[in-house]
C-alpha cells in the first residue's frame, strides 16, 4: 500500500516535523495551497515563498520544497516586493499571520496593495498572537481577555479584507479552514490574477484563542466556522446587525487595475525603443 501523501512531493525532504500545535489550522491551509499549485500544474521552481514571523509563517517555511525567504517580523511583503520587481516572471506568495501582516507589517500591506504588485498574500487570521502565548492582536474581538488585555480588549479591530480593498488590492477573498476546497479555488484564482491578491483565512488556534474565547476545542471552533460562515452572495442582502456575529466568506473583490511590475516593464521597453543605440 502506498502510504505517501500525493502532495508529499512538494514537501522539503528534510522537513519532517511540524512546529504546529495539535489542532492548528495551518495544516489544512498548507494542503489547500499545495493542492491549488498541483491542480494548476505549476512548477514549484517558479515560486518564491516569503514568510514573516509567527505561526503562519511556518506554513511554507521550511516545508514547501521551493525557494523560501523566511524574513523578519512584519516585513515579508517588503522583501517580496524586492523579489517580485527583480524577478517579475516568478510567482511570489507571502503566507503570514494577522499580527505580522496587519500590526507590525500593516504599512507594507497597504502600500503593496496600493501598488497592485502582482503577488499573492495569504493572511492567516486566528484573532490572536499564538506563538508568543496569546496576546491581543489587531483582529482580536473587543472585550476579549488575553494575556495583555487582562481586563478585556478595549480596542476596535481590523477587518483585514476591508483594509486590503481600501488599500487597492484587486483580488480579495475570505474563507475559513473549514472551507478547504474553496481555499484551493481561491488560491488558484489568485495565482491566475494579475495584480495584488489578498486572501484572509480564518483559522483556529485552539491553544490560545480557543481557550481565551471559551470557544474550546478544534472541533468546536470548526463547528463555529461552519455555522457562522455566510457567503458574500447571501450576506449582501443581510443587515449589519444580522451579520454582527457572522464570518462573511467568498470572493469579495475581483477587478483589474494597472499592475506595478507591468508598468515598470512598459517603461523599460519604451526606453529601449526610444534609444536604440544609446548605451547604459
Amino acid at each position: 500500500m502506498n502510504t505517501t501523501h500525493d502532495l508529499d512531493k512538494y514537501i522539503r525532504p528534510s522537513a519532517r516535523r511540524t512546529t504546529n500545535c495539535p489542532g492548528c489550522g495551518n495544516g489544512i491551509l498548507a494542503q489547500s495551497i499545495l493542492r491549488a499549485i498541483d491542480d494548476e500544474k505549476l512548477d514549484m521552481d517558479d515560486f518564491t515563498f516569503v514568510s514573516g514571523i509567527g505561526c503562519a509563517a511556518w506554513i511554507p517555511s521550511p516545508f514547501f520544497y521551493a525557494d523560501i525567504l523566511h524574513t523578519t517580523h512584519g516585513r515579508p511583503i517588503a522583501f517580496a516586493t524586492g523579489i517580485k520587481l527583480a524577478s517579475p516572471d516568478r510567482n511570489v506568495m507571502v503566507v503570514s499571520g494577522d499580527g505580522d501582516l496587519l500590526a507590525i507589517g500593516g504599512n507594507h500591506l497597504i502600500h503593496a496593495a496600493r501598488r497592485n504588485i502582482n503577488m499573492t498574500v495569504i493572511c492567516v487570521n486566528n484573532y490572536i498572537y499564538g506563538m508568543t502565548g496569546g496576546q491581543v492582536a489587531p483582529t482580536t474581538p473587543m472585550g476579549l481577555k488575553t494575556m495583555t488585555t487582562p481586563f478585556g480588549n478595549l480596542e476596535n479591530f481590523f477587518d483585514p479584507c476591508k483594509l486590503a480593498i481600501g488599500s487597492g488590492a484587486t483580488y480579495v477573498a475570505r474563507w475559513t479552514v473549514y472551507h478547504a476546497l474553496q481555499i484551493t479555488r481561491a488560491v488558484k484564482t489568485a495565482l491566475n490574477h494579475k495584480g495584488f491578491s489578498f486572501i484572509e483565512i480564518v483559522s483556529q488556534c485552539p491553544v490560545q484563542f480557543g481557550r481565551k474565547s471559551g470557544m474550546g476545542s478544534t472541533t468546536a471552533m470548526f463547528d463555529h466556522y461552519k455555522e457562522n460562515a455566510v457567503n458574500i452572495s447571501k450576506a449582501k442582502d443581510m443587515t449589519e446587525q444580522e451579520l454582527a456575529e457572522k464570518i462573511v466568506v467568498g470572493e469579495l473583490l475581483n477587478i483589474e487595475k494597472p499592475v506595478l511590475d507591468d508598468e515598470l516593464a512598459k517603461l523599460r521597453t519604451s526606453f529601449r525603443e526610444r534609444s536604440g543605440d544609446a548605451e547604459d
Binding site: T81, G82, A86
Partner: protein
C-alpha cells in the same frame, strides 16, 4: 559632479541594477539619480522603487539581492536607525548589498544639512546580536564614485552588507570626478551556486571562505532564514552549539579576510605626530599637516579608508613609530576609544570648535604645537 550623483554613477559602474529607497536629506540625490538611470538600463532590467519607509527599503534590497541582483539603498542617520534590524538580516542570510549613509547632524532628527560624523559606530554595533560589518568612509566626490564601486565589490566578494559612510559635505559637494572607462573599472561578481546545487545537502551558508550563494530562480529550492541555521540553511534554534557556529562563521568570514578588506592611507613615515582622520575631516587633516610641516612640526596623516573592520593592527604599528596621535573627528570622539585601545603612544583628540563644521587649520596647529612641546 555632486558627491551623491557620483555615488549613483559608481553604483551603476559596479553593476547595480536595483535600488529601493526613501527620500531623506542629505541622501536623496542618490535615489533621484538612480530613479532616472535604472529604468533606462539596456543590458539588464533595472529597478528603482521608492518604498514606504527605510525598513521596507532595505527589505526590498535584500529580496532583490537574493534573486541575484546587485542592490543598494541610500539614506541618512534616521533611516539607518530604522534599517538596523535588516542590516542584521543581510549579515545573517549573507545577502550582498550596499547601504549608503550620508550622515547628517543628530541625535534624532537633528539638522538634515549639517554634516556630523555621528553614525560611525552604528553600523558596527547598531543591529542586535554579535556580528562583523564592513564600512568605508569617502572624503571626496571622486571617492563617492570609487568607494561605491569598492563597496559593491566587497559586498559581492564576501556576501555581506557594506556601508558607505559618507556625510552631508561629501554628498553635496561638487568636485571634478573622473569616471574611468568601463574596462578599467574592476568589478567583482558574487560566486553563485553551480547548476545541480542541492539545498538539502550542499553548503550554501556559513563558510569563512564564503559559500556560493544559492540564489532564487535557479531551481535550487533554497531555504533562507535569518534564524540560527546550519551550513545548508536549515534552522536550528534549540542548540547553543549551532548559535556558536552561526556567529563564528559569519564573523570569521570577515575576520579571516580582514587584510584584504582593510585599507588605510598611512603617510606617517618619519613623522613624530600622526593625525588620524577619516571622511571629509581628512581634508582638514591634510591641510593642517602641510601647514604644520611648513613651520617645522614633523607631522603626518593616517586615514582609515576602511572604518570596519577597524584597522587595529595598522594603528598599533603606526603608534610604535610616532610619538603621539591626534585624532580629528567631527563628533565628540566616536572612533577615539578604538584608536586609544590600539595605540602604544599618547592619543589626543580635537573636535571642530563648532560641531557640524570643519576643523579650523589654525586650531589644529595650536593643538599640534601643544602636543609637540
Amino acid at each position: 559632479m555632486q558627491g551623491n550623483v557620483a555615488c549613483a554613477e559608481g553604483a551603476l559602474a559596479a553593476g547595480c541594477s536595483f535600488m529601493a529607497g526613501y527620500p531623506i536629506t542629505p541622501a536623496t540625490e542618490v535615489a533621484e539619480r538612480l530613479a532616472n538611470r535604472l529604468p533606462a538600463l539596456r543590458k539588464e532590467d533595472g529597478v528603482f522603487i521608492q518604498m514606504e519607509d527605510e525598513i521596507s527599503s532595505l527589505a526590498a534590497v535584500i529580496g532583490a539581492s537574493w534573486t541575484g541582483k546587485k542592490a543598494m539603498t541610500a539614506t541618512s542617520g534616521p533611516g539607518i536607525s530604522l534599517m538596523l534590524e535588516h542590516v542584521g538580516y543581510a549579515v545573517g542570510t549573507e545577502a550582498p548589498c550596499v547601504i549608503v549613509d550620508v550622515q547628517r547632524g543628530g541625535p534624532t532628527t537633528g539638522i538634515p544639512i549639517v554634516e556630523l560624523q555621528g553614525d560611525m559606530v552604528q553600523p558596527r554595533r547598531g543591529s542586535h546580536g554579535e556580528y562583523q560589518i564592513i564600512a568605508i568612509a569617502p572624503s571626496s566626490a571622486q571617492d563617492m564614485f570609487d568607494h561605491t564601486v569598492l563597496a559593491f565589490n566587497l559586498a559581492e566578494k564576501y556576501r555581506t552588507p557594506v556601508f558607505l559612510m559618507a556625510d552631508s559635505f561629501v554628498g553635496h559637494m561638487r568636485e571634478e570626478v573622473v569616471i574611468p572607462e568601463p574596462e578599467d573599472i574592476e568589478v567583482v561578481d558574487r560566486i553563485i551556486a553551480p547548476e545541480g546545487f542541492n539545498s538539502e545537502t550542499d553548503q550554501g551558508f556559513l563558510s569563512v571562505d564564503v559559500a556560493p550563494m544559492p540564489i532564487f530562480g535557479r531551481g535550487f529550492k533554497s531555504h533562507v532564514t535569518s534564524s540560527c541555521h546550519t551550513e545548508t540553511g536549515k534552522r536550528n534554534v534549540t542548540d547553543a552549539y549551532a548559535l556558536d557556529n552561526f556567529i563564528r562563521k559569519l564573523s570569521g568570514k570577515i575576520e579571516k579576510n580582514r587584510d584584504d578588506i582593510v585599507c588605510v592611507e598611512d603617510n606617517t613615515d618619519g613623522a613624530e605626530i600622526a593625525i588620524f582622520s577619516y571622511g571629509i575631516i581628512h581634508r582638514a587633516a591634510l591641510e593642517a599637516s602641510a601647514a604644520a610641516c611648513a613651520e617645522g612640526l614633523n607631522t603626518g596623516t593616517f586615514r582609515p579608508v576602511t572604518i570596519w573592520p577597524f584597522p587595529d593592527r595598522e594603528i598599533a604599528e603606526m603608534s610604535k613609530r610616532v610619538k603621539a596621535i591626534l585624532v580629528l573627528e567631527n563628533n565628540l570622539g566616536q572612533l577615539l576609544p578604538y584608536v586609544k585601545a590600539e595605540a602604544s603612544c599618547p592619543v589626543h583628540f580635537l573636535e571642530p570648535e563648532i560641531l557640524g563644521t570643519m576643523h579650523d587649520v589654525e586650531r589644529v596647529l595650536v593643538k599640534l604645537r601643544e602636543i609637540s612641546r
